[in-house]
Symmetry: none
Subunit: 130 residues, 4 copies
DNA sequence: GTGGTCTAGACCACC
DNA sequence: GTGGTCTAGACCACG
C-alpha cells in the first residue's frame, strides 16, 4: 500500500498521510488488526520527519482508526472501516454542498452542473446512459 | 452590496472579500466605472485590519478587475464583468474536477454523484426534468 | 488565571495545560469569546517550548473548546463551558468507576469506601452529617 | 489463577501482571511458598515478551513478595500476604485521595461523591444501610 | 503580532 | 524494535 506525499501541496503532509490511510482502510486495503508501517519506517520511506508521521498517526488515533499496541506499533481498530467509510462519505457530502452553493451563486441550474460533471468525468469509467 | 466576512473560516479574509467582489461584478451588482468602498471605510465596516482590505484590492487589481483612479480610489475596470465571469466559471470547473477525483477514488459512479447533487440541491431552485 | 506545570509529572505537559484550561472554562474563569494567552506568551511564562503549548491548544481545538481566530489568537468557543463541564464530569465518573472496581477486588464494602473518603476529605469543606 | 493482560491499556503490561499477582496473594489465591509460573510458561500463556514477565517478577521481588528459589523458580515469600494487603490498601488510599482532589476542584461535596459511588456500585454487592 | 507546519535531534518507557 | 514527549529553531500565511 504505497503512500504518496506532495510537499508542495497546500494541504499539510501529516494530513495527506492520514487521508490516504483513511482511504486505504475504507477501501479495504487495510483491515482491522493490521499494523501500519512504523513511524520510523514510513518517515524514511517518505523522506519526511518522524514527527510528521507521528502527527498523522495521532490524528488517526484520535479519530478512532488506529490504536497503539504497546511496543508493537499502531494497529487498525476493529471498526476503523466503518469510521473511514463514514468519514469519506461525509467529506464527499461537504464538497458537494460547497459546490452547490457556488453553482447557485453563479446562477447555474442543477442540469448545468450535471453537464459540467459529464464533461469532466473520465470517459473510461462512465456508466450513465449516453 | 453587503460584504460578509467570517474570521473563523479557513479561507483567508482577504480572499473572502475578493471573492465576494468578483461575484458582485459577475452578477452585475458592480458595473464598470463603479467606485468600490475606500480601504478605510470597508475595513471599519467589516471590523477588519486595513491591510487585509488592501490585500484584497491588490489581488483584484492584479486580476484586472479593479484599477486605481488617482486620488479617487479603486474603480471597476471596463472588462471586469467578463473577467469575473470567466474566473467564476474557472473556479467552478476546478471544484467539479476535485469532486470528480474524490468521487472516483471513493468508488462512486457519475450517476451516484448526480444523485448526491439532486439530494443537496435546494428544491426551490430546481429546473431539470426527471 | 495562572497556569502551573510540573515537568516531573508522568502526565504530559501539554495535557496539564489543556486540563487546566478545561477546568478554567468549566469553572467560569474563562468565558466564551475570551482569548487565551498567545502560544508565545504562554510558552515563555511556563518556560516551555512553544510547540508544547501549540499541542495543548490543538487538543482543545479538536475538543471544540478553542477555535482559532485568524491573526488574533485562540478564542473560547460558544459552548465551551458545556463541553468542559461535561468532560470534567465524565472524568470524575471514570475515576469513581476505577475506584469501585479496585475496592471490590480488595473485598471492601461500599460503606468501607465511604469511610475512606470521610477520612481523606478535608475537614474544612465538609457538609455531610457528622 | 488466570492472569489477563490488555496490550491496548495505558498501564504497562508488566505492571498489569504484577498487580494481578499482588491481588492474588492478598486475596489468598497464592500462599507463602507457592511457586509462580515460570517466566517462559507465563510469557507463552499471555503471548507476551518474556522480558515483560521478567520485569513483573523483578518488581515483585523488589517488593519482597517473590524470592528466587535456586533452580526451582520464583516463590511467594513468607510475609507476602501482609505486604500485598498493605500495598493494596495503600494504593486504594492514593486513589481515594486523587479522587477527592478532583471532586473538590469540581466543586463537589463529600455527599455528592458518595452518591456517585452509590450510583456506580453494583447492586448485588451492596451492604450499607440507607 | 498571531497560529500552523516542518525539520532535526534528543530522551524516555515499554516490549 | 515500538511509540510518546519535548526542545530548538526555522519558515510560512495571515492580520
Amino acid at each position: 500500500m504505497p503512500i504518496r506525499v506532495d510537499a508542495g501541496s497546500p494541504v499539510p503532509i501529516y494530513e495527506q498521510i492520514a487521508d490516504q490511510l483513511v482511504f486505504a482502510v475504507a477501501g479495504g486495503d487495510l483491515a482491522a488488526g493490521d499494523l501500519v508501517p512504523s513511524v520510523r519506517d514510513l518517515s524514511v520511506q517518505l523522506t519526511v520527519n518522524p514527527n510528521t508521521v507521528v502527527r498523522a498517526y495521532q490524528q488517526l488515533e484520535q479519530l478512532g482508526v488506529l490504536e497503539p499496541l504497546r511496543g508493537r506499533g499502531m494497529v487498525v481498530t476493529a471498526d476503523a472501516a466503518r469510521k473511514c467509510k463514514a468519514r469519506r462519505k461525509e467529506r464527499l457530502r461537504e464538497r458537494v454542498d460547497e459546490l452547490i452553493r457556488e453553482a447557485l451563486s453563479a446562477g447555474l441550474t442543477d442540469d448545468d452542473l450535471k453537464q459540467l460533471i459529464d464533461a469532466g468525468w473520465p470517459a473510461a469509467s462512465r456508466n450513465g446512459k449516453r
